[in-house]
């Protein structure tokens, strides 16, 4: 079973985000990026399937600062091959990213055939679309999103999609297929730094040139800003003991204690 995992980095929202001088995008000056959390789950799901069925896991990403670290980490976790698409510049449109991935998968010798293409179901910067569905459309393959379990047998992936209130749905998806992963069956595995360093020494990252694709259209950012806060908590200050006292007072006043 061979699997292609599409990954991207997104701004780390633990850091303070600022709007850039154009007023329409993030200030990238001090921006720290991390692997999209859902993509980490997609990678884990691929590795779990590989553990069970064997086969190869290939990583495909758009080139970006820090992407090599992400790829070496994934290789150290057990992925077999890493390819980055270079020369597309900084791609902020998900629609555009989908075109670049779709075209690259279809045209690059040696990427296909695979049984599954997995990617995170969504990312915090997916403004003009989600990645998986347009790629499935381009390849002419079936698609399922918001997937939290996937098993493979007989040219069929049986997947569980999450709805709401704990209700889920089970589906049969003929392979090859594209899946948008919400969560892997197990938390993403941990890999020690030493293994990542070893991967950096022993493995290489391949590059392919970005294919020519039509520019994304139809969605244009006019302005970006931190949300205007309509309400804000009343902040309690002091030592742990002091705030605990204040909270108890408040709870008692509200009849909760």
């Amino acid at each position: 079973m061979d699997i292609l995992v599409l990954m991207k980095v997104v701004p780390d929202v633990v850091e303070e985000l600022e709007v850039g001088s154009d007023g329409k995008s993030l200030d990238t000056g001090f921006l720290r990026t991390i692997l999209n959390e859902r993509d980490d789950h997609a990678l884990e799901q691929a590795l779990l399937l590989k553990d069970k069925h064997g086969g190869k896991v290939t990583l495909l990403t758009l080139d970006a600062p820090d992407i090599d670290d992400v790829l070496f980490t994934a290789l150290a976790k057990g992925a077999d091959r890493a390819v980055k698409i270079c020369g597309a510049g900084s791609v902020s449109s998900t629609q555009m990213a989908a075109r670049l991935f779709g075209e690259t998968i279809a045209k690059t010798p040696g990427l296909l055939p695979v049984d599954l293409v997995l990617t995170g179901v969504s990312a915090i910067d997916d403004l003009d679309g989600l990645l998986a569905a347009p790629i499935a459309q381009k390849l002419g393959w079936p698609y399922a999103g918001v997937v939290t379990q996937a098993t493979l047998a007989d040219k069929t992936a049986t997947v569980v999609k999450e709805f709401a209130g704990g209700v889920r749905g089970e589906y049969d998806v003929p392979t090859p297929a594209v899946l948008g992963i919400q969560a892997a069956e197990k938390p993403p595995r941990y890999v020690p730094v030493a293994k990542v360093r070893a991967a950096m020494k022993s493995q290489t990252i391949e590059s392919v040139d970005a294919p020519a694709v039509e520019a994304a259209a139809g969605v244009e950012v006019q302005q970006m800003a931190k949300p205007r806060v309509t309400g804000h908590a009343e902040m309690l200050e002091g030592s742990a003991d002091e705030v605990a006292d204040k909270l108890c007072e408040l709870l008692a006043k509200r009849g909760l204690l």
Binding site: G129, L130, V221, M224, A233
Partner: protein
Amino acid sequence: MANIWVLAEAGRGQVSEITFELLALGREVATQSGAPLEAVLLGSNARELAQKLGAADTVLYADNAALADPVPENAATALAQLIGEKQPAAVLVPLTNLSVDVGVVLAAQLGVPFLNYCKDLKADGGNLTATCVLYGGKMEAAVTAAAKPAIIGILPGARSVEQGRSDKPANITDVAVSLAAPKVRFKKYLEPETSDVDITQKDFLVAVGRGIQTRDNIELAEELAATMGGAVCGSRPVIDQGWLGLSRQVGKSGMLVKPKLYVTLGISGAPEHVEGMKNSQCIIAVNTDAAAPIFNVAHYGIVGDALEIAPALIEKIKARKG
């Protein structure tokens, strides 16, 4: 401007509440653009549900056996056919786990963008401007949606449910769609485990997030919950780690809770979590990051380490209770 459409979400014999929220928002946009508001209901033997959508000027109701189960591919294909015939200006799609796939497959079929994370929408002349929530709630963007049609995913809570309900009899138009067998086959619903506590029935919830750091620290939350006869619940990463069961997840893919008191320990306040708890009567948030969005939702906030605040609180509550 051409018609404004709302994709109604109906499953298992019920219209989801978000449908009414979208009808309320859709009505505003339709009024601004001088266009009719139409609801689209895709289902099988679901006329009864179509009758609940009287807030729309017209309900386009497609009755087809292939639309009985939640198969996004079928729903998207049906919508694409109707769009081809009727050329609406915009299709408002509920941003729920159930409907989002319909929206993205539809957009992919039509080759147009899927405008995501929209919390507000306005029509001005022939233009649609959306307000979209990005970076987990840390930024908002004003965005023009120029695609024809504009397929727009609307976040839960954009308007109130009541605003979109109507006693008016629905004006139902039957529409036909032709659907082939889908590639992806729905097999069955999997029900939530019922053996565990029902967090939707608790007056007091302690919600733990990634900031709790280790599985062992959840004991602290258990202890805090126990002081007031409550239960522990959590955000997605805690559930994904396997530290708490699926039935304890609050938010978009989990439970909707409205306890008297909701205390968060190390939860950032991502929109997908807030969706599930924002109607709690009293929300207290503990987070080390003063800029965490959870403080915009909470009634009381403490910037601090949950691992220090929780034990202090347990002690004080116990002392008060004697």
